[in-house]
């Protein structure tokens, strides 16, 4: 059951990320907007992140057959997804996410050499949660300004992804519980909610124009 849900989640994440990423890229190529460039990076990263984990599961199931996905593959996928969530949050004007002083950078990086990939995965899950929650709050605030109904769906999508990350992280405490399955179902719901308003954007007659760069 968990294996099936994990595959559905990663495949849906890969496809939704790819679709929104391509749309953002078309928008960037046609308008040259930096916001659309950041969204392109964000959603291609999210797509690649989900693809890496999905490919890991496929490799495990059909080639390696060890019964467990390689931890480093899952960690890599989550890190790439986190980069995507960072760019969504960054588009909402996060000015300085990482500490700037040289001392703090050193202190911040040093522990990464001391902890295992399992812990790294959970660090990035918690970072993803913060970025997604920030993105959801900013998006819902923008709804109150311009009353664009699509923003509600995107905010709900980001919030469900954040909740999914939180439950996924929390399942680390209760590894055998149903929490991880609920986390994956929540994330699938979040990705679908994210895609609904984007799917309504008409792309007829929009084309790549090399002269507008």
């Amino acid at each position: 059951m968990e294996f099936l849900l994990e595959n559905i989640l990663n495949l849906v994440g890969f496809l939704v990320g790819l679709a929104i990423g391509i749309m953002s890229l078309i928008g960037f190529r046609n308008t040259g907007s930096p916001t659309l460039f950041r969204l392109t990076i964000a959603f291609f990263s999210i797509s690649v992140g989900f693809f890496v984990i999905w490919a890991g599961y496929m490799m495990e199931d059909f080639v390696i057959k060890s019964g467990n996905i390689e931890k480093w593959i899952q960690t890599l996928g989550i890190i790439v997804q986190t980069v995507g969530y960072f760019f969504i949050a960054f588009s909402h004007s996060i000015k300085s996410f990482f500490p700037k002083s040289r001392y703090f950078r050193a202190v911040g990086i040093f522990p990464l050499f001391l902890i295992s990939s399992v812990q790294i995965e959970h660090i990035f899950r918690s970072v993803s949660f913060i970025l997604l929650a920030y993105g959801a709050i900013e998006t819902i605030l923008s709804y109150f300004e311009n009353k664009n109904k699509g923003a509600i769906s995107v905010a709900v999508g980001l919030a469900l992804l954040a909740l999914g990350e939180f439950l996924g992280w929390y399942s680390f405490v209760f590894p055998e519980s149903i929490l991880y399955s609920i986390s994956m179902i929540t994330k699938i719901g979040g990705l679908i909610a994210l895609f609904i308003p984007v799917s309504k954007i008409p792309l007829t007659k929009i084309k790549f124009d090399d002269n507008l760069e």
Binding site: N30, T31, T35, H92, S142, N146, V154, N211, L212
Partner: protein
């Protein structure tokens, strides 16, 4: 509250004026665009120069003064601008 307009939004305003709100068939004068787009002369001059060089606006010399009219590329750009403004709005962002 004063609304902050991005560079892209100002370009959108100028192009939509030259498409939908022209004084006459020859095009819009700089003064007219300044009033409609609510922007300073020095800034609009730079933007108009860029838009003409990119082929989004056509510059017409009539009786010693320049007038501006939207080109076919400009119309396509404006359509893309409106489409992706809605797209970005869904994410609570401005292009």
């Amino acid at each position: 509250m004063v609304e902050y307009r991005t560079h892209m939004k100002i370009i959108g305003d100028i192009l939509s004026t030259t498409r939908d709100d022209l004084q006459d068939e020859d095009g819009a004068t700089v003064t007219y665009l300044i009033r409609k787009a609510n922007i300073s002369h020095s800034r609009i001059s730079r933007i108009l120069k860029t838009l003409v060089s990119q082929g989004l606006l056509e510059q017409i010399d009539t009786q010693g003064s320049n007038k501006y009219r939207i080109s076919q590329s400009g119309r396509e750009f404006l359509q893309a601008y409106y489409t992706f403004t809605t797209f970005a709005d869904n994410f609570g962002l401005t292009i």
